[in-house]
Amino acid sequence: MASLSNCQPPIGSFSESNDGNVFFARGDQSVKRWDGLISDFVNAGVPAPSTGLSMLEEPILEGGTQVAANIAGTYFAYLRYLDSRGKVSNLSPVSGRLSMAGAKFGNVDSIIRAYGATLVNSYGLVLTREPYGSDDPQLKYLIVTSRSHGLETGDQITFHGFTLPGGGSFLGNRQYRVYVININQFILFNSLHPFDSTNNAPSWFYPYAGRATWSMAGNGIKYSNVEIPTDSRVVRRQILRNKDGNVNTFYVDIDDTDLTETEFTTVKSDTELGEEVPLRAVDGTDLNIARHSEPPNFKRVVVDHFSRTFAAVNLNYKVGSAHVEKGSTDVIGNGTCWTAEMESRLFFAGDKKSYTISSVDTDGQQLVLSEEYEGSTDKTSEYSISPEEDEKLSIHFSETLLPESWNRYKVIRLTSDPSSGEMTGLMPMGPRLFILFENRISSLNYMSDPSLDGQVSFATSRGCVNQRCYIKDGNSAYLMDQSGIYAFDGSQTVSISDQIQSIFDGTDKYSVDWARSEYFHATHQPREKVIRWFVCLGGSGYPKHALAFNYLVNRWWIEEYAEPVSSSVVGSVSKKRTAILCGSAGRVFIPISSPVDGMATGASPVRGSVSSATPVTITDSSQTFTDVVVGAPVCISEGTGSGQQRVVVSVGEHHLEVNRPFSILPDSTSIYQVGGFKWEYSTPMMRLASQPNEKAIRSFAMRFEPNGEQSTLIVRKYTDFQDTPDSMHYPRSFDEGDGVKTEASSPDILFDMTHSTGVLQQNFDSTDTPRSERNRSLTVRLEGVPNSEAHRIYSLTIEGVSGR
């Protein structure tokens, strides 16, 4: 993809609904949907028409002949859209009212002749040419009497019941045009032309009226201004019309899949209308008017809870800077990624007021405000784009079992509490939905409709950093806020991070970088009984450290990763439920599936001696490297530069290239390990037990599982509060040291992990002189990079100290 991404996108959240769709929300674009079958994510919901249609009563012609219709009553109409799955949108604005008379009928009471211009003119009929002669057909008219006929001049009627079919010289059972004289009488014309010289009356001859009747076909309805959808989700349009006398239920009159026309006609009577579409239930509940709105596009957290989807946490967009000009409505963005969905949101900059965004030019990254900017011109103003003020503490929710239908009028609005901090997420747990803030958790309880029977109550004064920093386990959860990590059962909280509290307090050399907290996340590894919170400790952009907690034995440790672990989930892989860690370069890892790090399962780690090195390469002339090691971490596990860890970015036949230069160049004493996990352990500081003038017996012993393949670990001894470890005095090989190797002037004590006894020991006896300065305390630190087998250490024993 192109490098023209201007800025990192907001972190979104996923939620799965009861209909099997997964939804993705991030607050600056429409909520997306995917079902695992279509080719890509699409916008969720169905957009509604924005304009109402028009209705007009009109004769509907086919082949020049009016189609009989009998639509009589008062009517309204709506337009709605449907997608390919048959999901419907909200209704358009309602049309204007249309009153129609429908078809008309009457009896022929009598027929008489009228003759002569004077008489005809007295009826108001205009002759458009001079009478030709006394026998001029223009002067001969038949006048029909039909009491309260209800016709209008120009109406077309059809006679029934005459003995003759009519035509030529005779009046008969056919269609004529009327000219109304009064409410009971009208004159007949053959022609359908307007009243001009081509008109002529039927012949002078007329049959016996008898039981003759007349009828006039009713008009149809012409729908116009029918909006053409522009959204690709819409594949169908329906025009809905009510039946006379009932405006609560509408019916499908037009069902269109062509989507190109803006006008339609109908002659369907009320009894011929299609599918019923009730607007409201008996209790007034909206069934189709406004309950099918699209999911809110300004919320970045979505969760599913008991057949509804909930959306919360506004996106306040602040990326980049804005160029604002006093007196102008135009705003230019720099380093921004403004989206079309930001239209109608509020723009805040240096001025004291907010402005509504009228339009967004996404290509040019420009906004148009609803009014001129009143603040000072600033080419690099800090700014914020936010939803409406009353949405700040709002929670929206979908209709039951309809995750793509959101009633825009049904919203939960919380009361502001300044001490709670910003809203950060939602956590469904049991029957309740918990609303997470930075420093608070509130509980939402409801029976059927949260906007009607929902109650929000205070749950605890702890909070949660973001939507991804909690782990649920049955009816309890583990959450992280800025005070630490705690367990929460819905009412009580128990702090569990006391062992590592200094990391949260900022008093440890490792401190959480809260400026990056939006990237923190947590995951549960069920097989290990471990929960990990991935955080940034000191300077990294994405989390590279995990605060790991084994809840079975209540132990904490910190893990450092060679590459960022920026996201995580729990899923089923090869039929095993496991955490899945996701990081940079699209890489995905499963923790503890193998002792080998960063390589495909089954790949062999590579360990060897460095022949030579450059700042960015390691050469081992005895090794042939393959691409399988690309992307894996490589550690210098022993010798010069030990402890350094890099990532392999490319290989040559005998060399590896790494991502960052080595700060201490490895040399021929260095041992490298590709794919090894680097681990460290430190004992607490222990007091040295001693008796003056007596030799203090001190040693460090380790019991472990011997490895089959070459592997070592490093032990270092620190006395008192020294930052640098004590150096050894004498060199000693592994054979001489019974599996322990030392070098003169080096602090590294190497333990051979292949030693068959599984027990290794290093002594450091000393004698204390009375009343002289001496060492008081001791810390032992271990560091290792396993080969293909894990380092399993069963016990550490330190002789000659006190304390745990």
């Binding site: 450059t614 700042p615 960015v616 390469t617 290239e657 230069p661």
Partner: protein, 104 residues
């Protein structure tokens, strides 16, 4: 700071992208008179390479590049840092700037 400075690590046999921004006396960008040249020096000051910059990048005033291939292992040795001196004429004045790179 206005010189190119250190430009990276390159293996023997690799290719270095040399670049120079031509500047006027007031250090604003400017077009060169003629084609800028380069010279590459070993740490001991011995010149190992020289030539003309290949092309001016279209749309970027006074910005020239040249791909230098480190093909000769006797000239370019792993672990050594090399200095490149660029020279050009601008506004009647001859000017220079400096880059360095390390062979790994």
């Amino acid at each position: 700071m206005l010189d190119s400075g250190f430009i990276g690590h390159f293996p023997v046999g690799g290719t270095v992208l040399l670049f120079v921004q031509v500047r006027a006396q007031n250090l604003a960008v400017a077009a060169a008179t003629g084609t800028p040249t380069y010279k590459v020096f070993r740490p001991d000051g011995f010149q190992v390479d020289s030539g003309d910059m290949s092309n001016a990048v279209s749309g970027l005033t006074g910005f020239w590049i040249k791909s230098l291939e480190l093909t000769n292992p006797s000239d370019y040795q792993s672990g050594q840092t090399y200095t490149v001196v660029f020279s050009y004429s601008q506004g009647g004045t001859n000017r220079s700037s400096v880059s360095t790179f390390q062979v790994v």
